[in-house]
Symmetry: D2
Subunit: 314 residues, 4 copies
């Protein structure tokens, strides 16, 4: 039984982790921390979390946690995460960080998008937690930087096509749409019910912080400089994400070669589902419980492909 802790348990990703871990046959949730609800039982903050009456939101103390746990999930905001990671790393607990702080291998790329990095020496220790791509490295790593939600939805469909030389590396576009939970539980006018409800809008065109994350991984995976056009939009729904991706196909690329690539990369993956070919083709819906790589189509050698993970993290 793997002993698991969650730091920052009272945000949307924290509570989602509670549900996943508490239903996992090989893991046991042993400790949780929360800055905002310190001293309260988890069931007081989330009344529906039956069976966790004895789990009290603690202070985030590395030393006491290190003795009790095999794995710590950090569901903390970026910048806060990197303040705690070095100590956890030294104590040899496996760290799965859900913030942006350890997603980048290039500190400058991180710093131009976020802020000064105060634990740069650990970036080379960190593995990018995209499990379908870095499975073996993730198993061995002591520090995992979990991917952003938009990057997950864009990297999974693009990596096989770039690595197998099926699309042109230039001119890739991702038109992405996210539910509101991706912005977290912190208050802002842009997450206020009356502002979001019954509306739809793009935001941060040209300067969303997930862009350098996407480009770094695509470049590493395809061994060439990739720079995509990424336009995020906000959907009036809580949870779900869908990216519609446009790329120019190479000359000898066909629907079948693309399907073969996806089948070989993801055919056995439990969290990815590849939709059927025509005529029984179905389009992906963001509410489906399993992420999907959808049917793609060819229009004058452009390819459109969509994927969505049902859980939006940021």
């Amino acid at each position: 039984m793997i002993k698991v802790g969650i730091a920052g348990v009272t945000g949307y990703t924290g509570i989602e982790l509670v549900k996943l871990i508490s239903n996992h046959p090989g893991a046991k949730l042993c400790t949780v921390s929360s800055n905002s609800y310190k001293g309260k039982a988890l069931t007081e903050v989330f009344p529906s979390m039956r069976g966790f009456e004895t789990l009290i939101c603690e202070d985030l103390s590395v030393q006491s946690l290190a003795r009790k746990l095999d794995v710590i999930f950090l569901a903390l905001p970026h910048k806060v995460s990197m303040q705690h990671v070095p100590q956890f790393f030294e104590s040899k607990i496996k760290i799965i960080d859900l913030s942006a702080d350890f997603r980048f291998s290039d500190a400058l790329a991180y710093e131009s998008a976020y802020q000064e990095h105060t634990a740069k020496h650990l970036l080379k220790e960190s593995v990018y937690g995209l499990c379908e791509i870095y499975k073996d490295k993730i198993k061995a790593a002591g520090l995992i930087g979990n991917p952003g939600c938009y990057p997950t939805s864009i990297l999974l469909p693009l990596i096989p096509l770039l690595k197998e030389n099926l699309i042109q590396p230039a001119g890739i576009i991702s038109d992405s749409k996210s539910g509101v939970s991706g912005a977290g539980r912190s208050l802002s006018l842009s997450s206020h019910f009356c502002e979001v409800n019954e509306s739809f809008a793009p935001y941060k065109i040209g300067n969303h912080r997930h862009t350098p994350e996407i480009n770094e991984i695509l470049s590493l995976q395809s061994r060439q400089k990739i720079s995509i056009t990424f336009v995020p939009h906000l959907l009036p729904l809580t949870r779900g994400m869908l990216s519609t991706i446009y790329a120019d196909a190479k000359n000898d690329t066909s629907e079948d070669t693309i399907r073969e690539a996806y089948a070989s990369y993801y055919g056995e993956e439990p969290f990815i589902r590849i939709l059927k070919k025509m005529p029984s083709r179905q389009f992906p819906m963001s509410k489906e419980p399993i992420p999907v790589i959808s049917e793609f189509i060819f229009v004058k050698k452009q390819i459109k492909s969509s994927l969505f993970p049902p859980l939006t993290t940021s």
Copy 2:
């Protein structure tokens, strides 16, 4: 042409007033104030408000406003409103206050629900702005305290029934449901998209501040002490309100006597619509653009009647 100003123009009631006044043939919007957007053009804050490019959000200065205006609408939070009303009142501008500060004639009732009242001497000058009931007084008044949203939805259907002795004064229940805009544009977890969306919940059972406002007006109108049971609920939609009201009918009350009462009180009112009798009966929908007093039914001498105003104010 009546010269109108709006103080606190950048909240949800403020911007709604801009739309109503700017389309009104007898009124001209001359000045607006906003604490949060001081110095900005109204069109910068609300880009769709074309034609108001020259209207700049000003400081709330009574002296300069008094010279320019016939009427000032105060779309300010309670407590802030009563700080400005005395000066406006002296300057003889007509004041329409949308906060709770001048809705009560009983200062103690106000203070037990809100806070200390700092302009008590003006409570006796103020008229409760429920236009179908206090039309003549409103025309003559210098200070109008506009009703809350829940009270409007409950007072209009109950006043005729109580005044005409058609229902028992004891045991009245209003089960009321409101959209989110009634809580205004200020940030709070209870207006956060992911908390409200796809859910429905009661709140403040037994201690909502609109209860004493409802009871005061019902008691004044029916010349007896009325104390209703009021349970508010939050709907996952932006705008609209519906109250389902339960009361015990008096022995000789019939659907026809109730219909006659409503027809005589509201038959000519432009903002109230009385739904048809069976068999072509329709039920009210909160999204309808005109407030409605719906069909009522008799079950063992209980009466259920619903009204909703499409605009929720607080």
Copy 3:
């Protein structure tokens, strides 16, 4: 391992059953039938239902099913259900019927609300499937008529109060609000997105077919004639239900006697959660995953209590 079949698998209750049964450690889903999708794999109709590729939607043939199954769930429309139940009953399979056809013990009550009953002789064999109340009978029964969604939300909070003589049996009101999934997957203007979205409305006031079902069970349980006032409303959300219930308390009833009754009836029930007392009181939210009996309050000896099951069936 209990071998389970589902008839009418492609409606909203059918697919929900697939999820529940497929995650149940003691049950195995062996066969499904669907009139609309005959011959298709379950995964073709519901692409997210991985692992059910070999489960084909069959014809509803009692004889072949009887050999294969221990339990059959009928997720069929009322009237259709009672055409199949007699044959299943003879074949000794346990039948759990989700339609209204076997909820009533009084055939006349059924017929006045629905239509002629064509299997009246089985009504006396059927047990009302409200598991917290009829647990032992359900275990022994060959035919179970599962409760409607509104009745579930109203019966559970009222039965302990009536049986323990804590409230007056006359004048009970349930103001109930339901999500749209309760109306099923069949098309109608009242489930059309643009009609429901951003609106809220009562419907079928005074003549909803769940009223006699509620009254029959309340009367049986409390050994007196009960006739409640029931007003259903439609919420603009998919799933969830909340009933706000009003009753007159008996003279010696207090919050504590009510809490004791609920604790003794439901304290150990896994599907019911009783919310905490003041001051840490929380109100129920329809999106919570576990049904809740909420805090109740006393206003002039009236009691308000709410319960919601997250799954709306009809």
Copy 4:
């Protein structure tokens, strides 16, 4: 006063027309027809349409209408529209057809997307009703084929850029998102509340019937063959549309040359608003009441531009 009639008044576009025409100072709504609600007063079908108690839904009889009207709006389904247009055309009433039947000048393009055209001889008489582009022709025409909703959102931003040679004509992509009202009031599983709510999905990728309409007008306007990639998506909201458009800029195109083109084409247009340049840049929101051409950005010579009309027609 222009005398106006509406055929097919009880669909979503019909009722929207009632609101627009009844508020128009130069028009009078004289007659309405409806197949589904024949003989009923308009206020019976739409209770909030006060003041139209005497307007009865009539049969669609060309002869009687021709005597009474100056203009007839046909809010009918395609195929039905072209059965009535020839008679109206002979009677010299001005016809504004909201269906797809008279949008095309090329009958083959129409027939490959819809069905056989039974009034081909009138296609050359019809003017495409995109008022910002064909204003003068619309004034003079006897028959106007009103644009589809998606085409409106795509043509307005692209026409100036293509005519002024600012973008490459090849490789244009429109990733478009529509509310549900665009699909009309007819029942279908894809407009069922529970299917649409809390989800987002693309549909008809590669074969939506608005694609040939878009391509025909873009080709006519730019005097070259244009064939765009168009991917429609369904938003979980009632009303509003947003298209995010991608194109390759020509070498000497800059943001300023694009802004100049938009200012010169649309600067004076009452129904188009061009959002401000950085730094006060705002992104379009689909709920804004005035259609918008948004800020565009340059990323490696790609241009992204969005427009949305708040009224979705089909």
